[in-house]
């Protein structure tokens, strides 16, 4: 009663060409075609060339913003994850509070809050304190640092993404069976040593791909910084389209530039995934 063989099993039978169609990376071909069309269009059109020239500084700033915020978020996230997993009740509470509050607030609101509410207040208090202590130089450095919109955007994005990264770290660390830590402890390692030599090296492999994904996501979310007067790629695009009224060319180019950056990032993440799978 049961068919003894799958009729589709012999490869290529009944096909005109022995091509494994389902394994062709169609999305890649479509992107390649779109990329070629875009490149031709840009090369042939002075408008697109002007647009690209105008947006160049924005691209640089977007990359700087992303990398700075990501570096800080990695540190904040690791600290929050270790606090979350510690045995100190206070640290755990602080960590959970941070993660839940930040994940519950839209990133745009967080950025606007830092730029227009928190930063001016903190700046005033710190500068006032430094002034009162007779250190006008320190006061100037503090206000100068906090006054920069770039720094505010970095801080806002890092605090926002730190909460997500903390959960990724935690998942990675918790994926290592507890028995390994116990085994390491029984061999005479301290908790810190067990963490450093046994848990983290394995956890890193697990968390690298999702960490990479969040770098790509952060790159896209860096566009939110345009709302707090950082002249990154999105704001550069807005500025250009408001001056030239060429919204079509401008936003085509803005989208294409973001896509180029995120695709490069995605390729990196894929490579990471392959590496982390192969290593196990």
């Amino acid at each position: 009663m049961f068919p003894s063989h799958d009729p589709a099993a012999p490869a290529g039978r009944g096909r005109l060409l022995p091509v494994p169609w389902e394994r062709v990376p169609w999305w890649g071909l479509v992107l390649l075609a779109a990329g070629c069309a875009a490149a031709l269009g840009i090369a042939g059109s002075p408008r697109y060339r002007d647009t690209l020239a105008f947006l160049r500084d924005g691209v640089v700033l977007t990359l700087q913003l992303t990398l700075a915020a990501y570096a800080l978020a990695l540190v904040i996230g690791l600290a929050a994850a270790l606090m979350r997993l510690s045995r100190q009740k206070v640290l755990v509470t602080i960590s959970i509070l941070y993660i839940e509050v930040i994940r519950g607030v839209p990133l745009l609101v967080l950025l606007i809050y830092i730029a227009f509410v928190a930063a001016p207040a903190v700046s005033a208090v710190l500068a006032g304190a430094a002034q009162a202590l007779g250190m006008p130089g320190v006061a100037r450095v503090i206000t100068g640092t906090i006054r920069s919109d770039f720094n505010r955007a970095v801080l806002g994005l890092a605090i926002g993404y730190g909460a997500y990264l903390a959960e990724i770290y935690r998942a990675g660390i918790e994926a290592i069976p507890r028995g390994q830590v116990e085994a390491a402890r029984s061999l005479g390692m301290s908790t810190g040593q067990a963490m450093r030599h046994v848990v983290l090296p394995q956890a890193v492999r697990i968390v690298l791909p999702p960490l990479g994904n969040d770098l790509v996501a952060l790159l896209k979310d860096s566009a939110l910084a345009s709302a707090i007067a950082v002249p990154e790629l999105t704001q550069a695009g807005r500025l250009l389209s408001s001056r030239t009224f060429r919204a079509f060319e401008t936003y085509n180019m803005v989208a294409l530039l973001y896509l180029m950056m995120t695709l490069l990032g995605s390729l990196g993440v894929r490579a990471l995934e392959r590496w982390s799978r192969g290593g196990r």
Binding site: F116, P120, S123, A124, T143, R147, D149, S226, A227, A229, P231, Q235, R238, L239, S241, S242, R243, F245, A247
Partner: protein, 279 residues
């Protein structure tokens, strides 16, 4: 259970599609192309035949247009102006809040029939939109905090941080000044409300802004701000229309001309810019 779920999905999709169709009918070109030259009693009164004029406006710009805290209505000089213009041209002005960024694109593709948002008439904008005759002349000024001592006008902004709203004529002017080395750096915000907030927060040293809007913000911020120096440009505001929309242009220009002659425009001006100006 599964059958129920699917039925629900089908009903939902049907409702959404119906909604989209109805909306398209109501908002679509059908209503926009309503004006018919049917003559009413008295040739000028026929005007636009009572049609609704959809007006886009960035309503974060006192005293030209703001949203009233209590009633949520859009109030200011521009709404009053358009009510009066429409009373004379036989139409109905309907203001909608929208972002400044992209406001002219929305006008061009037909989301609005007019943009009335303290829009300065410039040659660059003329390439993309049609303008009515000017309804107000003004100059740009420098707005600073009351305790500011180092800035006395537009010539004292070198090495200072200046804020503007992205894509305004003030932005253009600040950019030009920066190229001449007369402005230190420029921060661009999505609205003037945010730019002025940055000034109050001491994030920037000055805001370059139209003189009447400066008065509006001084009032909003309880005299924490002041204007310094004389207005350093001479510009005019107009109603922005779609290119080739001669029906609206003729009707609005006629109404504005009449309002200039009989003193209505002056009265509106006094109401919003003299009586309500900060003392």
């Amino acid at each position: 259970m599964r059958g129920r779920t699917w039925a629900l999905v089908v009903v939902l999709v049907a409702v959404v599609i119906a909604g989209v169709i109805v909306r398209a009918r109501v908002m679509g070109p059908g209503s926009a192309s309503a004006p018919s030259p049917a003559a009413g009693p008295g040739a000028p009164a026929a005007g636009l035949g009572g049609r609704e004029i959809r007006i886009g406006s960035d309503t974060t710009y006192p005293p030209f247009e703001t949203v009233d805290e209590k009633t949520k209505a859009i109030v200011g000089f521009d709404p009053d102006l358009m009510d009066e213009v429409c009373r004379r041209a036989n139409c109905k002005a309907k203001f909608t809040t929208t972002a400044w960024d992209g406001i002219f694109v929305a006008l061009a593709k037909g989301d609005f029939d007019a943009v009335v948002s303290g829009v300065t008439i410039t040659d660059e904008r003329r390439k993309a939109v049609e303008f009515s005759e000017p309804y107000l002349r003004y100059g740009q000024v420098v707005l600073v905090r009351t305790d500011e001592a180092a800035i006395a006008g537009v010539d004292t902004l070198a090495r200072k941080q200046v804020a503007v709203q992205t894509g305004t004529t003030n932005d253009e002017k600040a950019t030009a000044l920066q190229k001449e080395g007369k402005v230190g750096s420029i921060k661009r915000y999505e609205t003037f409300a945010l730019a002025v907030l940055a000034l109050v927060n001491k994030d920037v040293d000055a805001v370059i802004i139209d003189s009447y809007a400066a008065d509006g913000f001084i009032k909003v911020h309880d005299a924490k701000l002041k204007k310094v120096g004389e207005p350093f440009t001479s510009e005019a505001l107009g109603i922005a229309l779609r290119q080739g929309d001669t029906a609206l242009k003729q009707a609005f220009d006629a109404a504005l001309a009449a309002m200039k002659t009989d003193g209505t425009l002056d009265r509106l001006y006094k109401t919003w810019f003299v009586e309500r100006a900060p003392k």
